[in-house]
Amino acid sequence: MIQVKQLTKTFDGFRALDDLTLTVPKGAIYGLVGPNGAGKSTVIRHITGIYRPDKGSVTVLGAPVYENPAVKARIAYIPDDIFYFPSAGLGEMASFYAGIYPSFDRQMYKELLGAFSLDEKMALRRFSKGMQKQAAFLLSIAARPEVLILDEPVDGLDPVMRRQVWGLLMQDVAERGTTVLVSSHNLRELEDVCDHVGIMHKGKMMLERTLAELQDNVVKAQVVLREGSQVPQELNVLHRSASGKILTLIIRGSQEEVNRVLAAANPVFFDLVPLSLEEVFVYELGGVDYEVKSVIL
């Protein structure tokens, strides 16, 4: 559905994207994560047809997206910093969206308006940040896109609204098979909704997996070794910490493999614990010099 191949983009000598490849299957909810400055927003702007690639290609729904209104009409985009026409109210913006998105659904718009309880006539610039985000969701979903691109979508929303928004998204995906690409730092929430994850760092895609594969590929083990025993060499330990005799190991490998090796080491005790997406992010990027540093003030 979304295919980015060997994408490179340079701004004034700074390489923001470096030979990046990304694939979002149809109907997937893809979480794009990475530290600040990784290039997530830059990728998103290529996918929404704002930027022209220096090298590589970006195709959405099988066609190049740049300068392609027919494809863009099937994509809805909510940026992290939303723009509305100055002095425009929600009603005016809806009329504008209805004019440029052929699939805009007035009925859906009315339903969502009721659900979000937003004032249609008030100027959008007078809305709070959270209400502006709600308005953006309302307009984007009413446009009935096949692809939804979201950059920090729930930033600024209260917990109730966040749940409502995610619920809407999931419903849309389930009913219409919408493909969603979400960029966010809130990995806890992404974990609940995404089925695909891509981790970016310094303009490159570090890894791209389904969530299940990702969580399967890195394992957290708590181990108590016998006196004189060492951690088996064949394990690819990403991180190690100790609390008394209990060693906590973050190991790259499948659960079965780690289980087999640890069992063979005959420890006093060991247990395999699933990792959160946040832990996967931290420890994966730790291998590329982006680890958490203890800051002492």
Binding site: I50, G62, K72, I75, D81, F83, G99, I100
Partner: protein
Amino acid sequence: MKSRASFCDSTLLKKDITRFAPLWALYTAFWMLAAFFTVQDLGGVGLEYRPSQAERLIKVLGTLGTVSSAIYAVMVAAMLLRYLHNARSAYMMHAFPLNRSTQFITHVIAGMLFFLVPQLLFTGALIIGLQLRSISLAATLGLTLLGKQCLAWICFFGLAVFCMLLTGRTIIGVLSYGAIQFIGYVLPRMVCMLLSELFLGFAYRESVLGELSPFLALVIQQSLPRLLIWAGIGVVALVAAWLHYRVRHLERAGDAMVHTWAKVAFQVLFTVTAGLGLSFILWLLFSGEPVARYPFVFLLFGAISFFLSWFGARMMLQRTIRVFDRKNWTGWALCVAALAVFVLGLRYDVLGSQRHVPNPATITEARLTVSNYYSFSEHSIDHLPETPDLLIRDQDELEQLAQANGTFLTEAMNARSTQAPESGEPTAQIAISYRLSSGLTQTRIYEIPKSSDLGRTIAALCRKPEYAAAYYEARWPGDAEEGAFSWYVTPPASAQTEEDMENYYDESTDIYYDTPDVVRFGSFRLALVRQALIEDAKAGALPISNALTWDDKDLGELSVYPSEYNNLLQVNVPESATHTVAVLSGK
């Protein structure tokens, strides 16, 4: 899945029209008022209506239209395109399913409508109003005005759109537009001022400078060829803007200039224009002497001025005051070095062009203007009359003139080098144009001492009867209506007191006595004066009148005025011009 090409989006167009309704509504109101007052003004004329009034009306409304178009165009372009100057709006607008060409063309169409609708309403109201006043030229007047306004608008709007696309900030776009309107005049003008100070004999066409500024060119005159040229430039600007828009890097929103070449152009033009301007201001405040006498002092002022303008431009481009790095100091130093090369190269005539006098064998004719009443103060060739005072084709005379010219230049350059004080002796301004066999022309304007070789050579030529007679025949105004002679020679016998002489008219001689020192003539007397001047010139008693031939013994100054004061003749009358003296005395 490529989209079908569409050049205009109706949703976006409607949005532009409704969003900016206050702007074009205000413009419409302005022109409706203009129509009202125009009809009111012409209505007072009554049913009789002269074509000259139509011309005057077209000129006045045309000027008003030009000025208002120039201002309105940049406002419209700024409103329509400022979304490109903010990253948020630029990204969002280009995420919508509208390709860049469609967006650009839609905004341009909106801009055209913002102008055209008010103008059509104005034209309609004007034509109807004038026809109700029974003014027969109403439709022609209205449509002529509309056509001219449209052409002026295309020029200004095209340039404004181009400036908005070239820059990343709206205020810089507006300033760039303002600069484009005048820099074609201001910068060459300042360079000409500097050349006038440093290049001995420098002469240039001032009128050309006005043509380089769209605003000045169209305000001064709205002839059809001029409007068509500038409208064409506006179209080119629009096309360039469109081509740029298609490949514009949106991340440049917020940068002063979007392209590197535009940054360089802005840097250089701002530095040179502001730097030269400030240099002259400092020079006038703290010196006021000719620059050629103290070029190094001028360069010092130049270095200071260029420092301010160079780093000022860097601050505007980089949006920071931290611009004093080595690279920028090097840039400033190069600018100052370039100024030094220019100033000193001219001052010391490194290329030898100031001292150059054409080889007499290559000169086909020399045209001299020596009359005192032409102002050469701006070194402008435009002030010279079409017909020269002296037209020399004789080879011997050309050789003599060229040799004297060369001697004068050598002396003048030496005097400049030694910084010799000015002698205080009388001088005259002369313009010499050598036409060469190659078809080229060399024109110089000098201020020459009367006693110089060149001054004496020209004075001798002015005394030649054939030249003097031809001069007076050519110079006498064809529609002379008035003449006056100052320092009247002989009072009339009947006047005994000053009171007697004031406002006294002698019917027999057709002479008016304004004051004891001034007499005026009626048309009959003027005809006699003309005849007398030519007779005296042919007899060799009256040279071409100018500062080189004036004498302390001259009796006074004769002035002859045509009806429009654009062909004034002034003659210092010597005693030897007996016919002229007699006619002036009423004999």
